[in-house]
Each structure stands twice: as C-alpha cells, then as structure tokens.
C-alpha cells in the first residue's frame, strides 16, 4: 500500500474532526492529497466505515445503513425548536440572508435566542453586512452544518433544485417585505 495514502489515512483517522486538504498536508506531509483521498474513498466504499467530504473537509464516519445498530436511543444531539428549525432552513436555502428577510419569510419576528442557539450549535455564522440601506448583518451556514447534516455541499440540500426552479428561493422583493410590514406589529 502506498505510504502516502497510509499517512493520509492515519491522519484522518486520528483527527478529532474533519480535515481540509491543507490540514491533511500539514500532518501527512506534501503529496498528492486529492489522489490519496480518492483512493481511500474508493477503498472504503461499502465498508462499515466510509470516507466523506463535507464542505471541503474530509472525515471518516460509520456507514449510514448501520445507524440502527449503533444508535442506542434515537436521541437528537440537539433538540431544535420549531422556530429554530425553520430559521436554520431559511438560512441554509437562502444564504446569505438578513434577519429581516428571515422574518419576512416566517411572517413573525425572531426572538433573540433563536439565532443564538444556531450559532452556539456551530451551524450558523454571521456573513458580513449587505451593501444596501441600513447595511444589515447577514447570516450563513458553516462547514460544521454540512458535516452534521451529512451534506457534501449546499447543493445537496434536500429539494433545493426544485425550490429554486419554482422561484421559492428568489430574493425577496420589496413588496414581500412590504407585506411583512403591513402584517407586522408596527403599522408605520
């Protein structure tokens, strides 16, 4: 077996979390990281462990079809409220998205804690300010979000292509925000 592939395998195996290509090279040394990863992914396909890429970072994990064996109780690692779940979905499908846009889609103000919970989980981050009036802060998902939900990239979000085609992910026009104001608590 190729010594470099062995090194990449060992580094990924020993790591506490997913590794980027740069991280891998840092530990395994210089070499064709991409080729080594391809060879490993190929080797592990169909085994009890698989090598996956999530948002540009690689890690080993158990095969999903063995979930029933390893899961002692189907306990959610983090129980999300309905508001947090919807907010997370809106951020993931629309990112980068401002708080006002999230509120416009949900038709209700989001409480302080909702975004905090998502950021604390490490799934959502701030993504800079938008260059529009008021320069609102925007939010986006993180690499950890992709890792946790087993998504190679945002393109793997369930149904994203259909939603896009149906125009349901288009940027909200001003009228939608207007409607939000009309139905919001403030009447001005």
């Amino acid at each position: 077996m190729d010594d470099y592939v062995r090194s990449v395998e060992a580094a990924l195996f020993a790591a506490n979390g997913p590794l980027s290509l740069d991280d891998i090279a840092l530990y395994a040394g210089e070499g064709d990281v991409a080729a080594a990863l391809a060879s490993l992914a190929d080797h592990y396909a169909g085994r009890g462990i698989e090598l996956v890429e999530r948002g540009g970072r690689w890690h080993f994990q158990t095969a999903p079809d063995l979930a029933h064996l390893l899961r002692r109780e189907r306990e959610e690692p983090r129980r999300l409220s309905r508001a947090a779940t919807e907010t997370l979905a809106i951020i993931a499908y629309h990112e980068p998205v401002s708080r006002a846009e999230i509120e416009a889609i949900r038709g209700v103000q989001i409480s302080r804690g909702t975004l905090d919970v998502l950021m604390e989980a490490g799934w959502v981050r701030t993504a800079g300010r938008r260059e529009s009036p008021g320069r609102p802060l925007t939010y986006a998902t993180t690499a950890d979000f992709l890792t946790h939900f087993n998504l190679g990239s945002r393109r793997d979000l369930p149904g994203i292509d259909d939603l896009k085609a149906a125009g349901l992910l288009d940027p909200l026009d001003e009228e939608a925000l207007q409607l939000q104001l009309e139905s919001g608590e403030d009447e001005d």
């Binding site: 580094a11 939900f149 369930p158 139905s183």
Partner: protein, 256 residues
C-alpha cells in the same frame, strides 16, 4: 415535528370537523395560522382559494374575540388586511388600483408557499442521517497536535555587537567637556561700550558682533552682547528699541 401536533388538534375527537381549537398561543404569527388554515383546504397551495382562506381566517379571529381571548395586534392587522383584500376581490375591477387585488392574492399565496417550503425543508433536514445520531465519527480519536517550536535566530555579529554594547554601557566613562569658544559677559560689556561710542544712530545688535567669528562663537557673542546691552541700558548708558517681537533689536548711546 411531532411536538407541534397539539396545535392542530381538531375539535370533535377526529370527526373530521375542520374547526381548530381556539388557542392563539401556539401559532408562530398570523402567517403560520394562515398556512395551517390553508392546509385544511387539503389542496395544493397553488390551487388554494384565497377568498375561502380569507373568510376562514377572519372567522377564526372573530370567534376568538367573541370568546374574549386576547388577540395580538399583528393577528388583527392581518385580519383587517385580509378583509380589505376580500372586499377588493369581490368588488368590480378598478383598473386604477395598483397592485390589483388579484396580484395581492397571488403574493399572499407565494408567501404561504415559501413558508411551507421552508417548513418542509427544515423537517427534511432534521430527518437526515445526522452525525452523532445516525452516523458516527471515531469514538476515541488519538487527536492530532501541532507543536510550535521556536527556532531561535542570532548570528555572530549580533553576539559581538551585544557584548560591545554591554561593555560600552557599563565601563566607567570619563566625561570631558569640550573646549568651546565663548565670549564672556565682561568682554561683551567692554566691547559694546567701546563700539557704542562710534555709533551715533540706532544700530542693530548684530552690528556689534565680531564679523569673522565661527558660528559657535558668534552665537555665544550674540547671547553675551544681548545681556551686555540690557546691563548697559540698566546703567543708563544706552537706549534699546524693538519694533515688534523678534524684530531687530537696536541700540543707541543715551545722550549725556
């Protein structure tokens, strides 16, 4: 989203009655209530009857008020807006109104679709094979560590220069005051007094200085001559005049 089932509980023990239990606490805002009512129509959201939905919503809010339940302002605002929309939809078309009621109804429908899509996306997201619940990372990784080590850098010149610096700093130093050409005050008084006799009119102080002197000596002479001029003025031997600060200082022998 099992935990939310409670809000959708139907009155009449599953008799198929469409009425919802009257509680406003469970809704996440008026749009949420609208979406739930729309779902009651059991048709695709594209084909939803906005008119029927509007009536349902208004009826719901009114029965809530009849029961003296507290209804938050945003639900009332939505009810008012829907009442307006309903009447606009029923009235004969007025081409002046922009956007048209049909356009507004379409936008409302789109909003419901958007919220519905995100609600479903959230549920699908939570249902995925999640790390730590369905798939597992290695339980006891050895961990990777990067140990940063300093590679200290210094060259021989730095070393010798440092030693030279230490020695120069700590060696006993002998301080010698360099000899400097100085015109004493006594010399200056004598000189100004002597030259003053030859100058009958106002004369600048600079004119009393030795012309050929080196710059350092000239500065000393200037300072001493200035003090000498003040002293002679004090003694009543000359007058001093200056037009403005930093202007030329002029001297003249005082008339006897």
């Amino acid at each position: 989203m099992g935990e939310d089932e409670g809000q959708f509980e139907e009155v009449g023990g599953g008799s198929g009655d469409d009425a919802l239990t009257l509680s406003l606490d469970g809704w996440e805002g008026p749009l949420d209530l609208l979406l739930t009512l729309a779902r009651q129509q059991k048709v695709d959201l594209h084909q939803i009857s906005i008119l029927a939905l509007t009536e349902q919503y208004i009826a719901y809010i009114e029965s809530a008020r009849a029961l003296k339940l507290e209804v938050a302002a945003d639900y009332l605002v939505m009810a008012a807006w829907l009442a307006y929309l309903k009447s606009a939809l029923l009235l004969p078309k007025d081409p002046e109104i922009d956007p048209s009621p049909e356009e507004l109804a379409l936008r409302l429908q789109l909003r419901l679709q958007r919220l519905d899509a995100m609600r479903e996306a959230g549920a699908r997201l939570l249902g995925r094979d999640r790390l730590g619940r369905d798939v597992f990372a290695r339980g006891a990784p050895e961990g990777l560590r990067l140990v940063r080590k300093s590679a200290w850098q210094a060259n021989a010149f730095d070393l010798y220069a440092a030693y030279g610096r230490v020695r120069a700093r700590t060696q006993p130093a002998m301080h010698v005051v360099a000899h400097r050409a100085v015109m004493t005050l006594e010399d200056a008084i004598a000189r100004v007094s002597a030259l003053l006799g030859q100058a009958l009119d106002w004369t600048t102080l600079e004119a009393f200085l030795p012309a050929d002197a080196d710059p350092a000596y000239r500065r000393s002479a200037l300072a001493s001559s200035f003090v000498a001029a003040l002293e002679l003025a004090r003694q009543g031997k000359l007058d001093l005049s200056q037009d403005a600060p930093f202007e030329d200082l002029r001297l003249r022998a005082r008339a006897a």
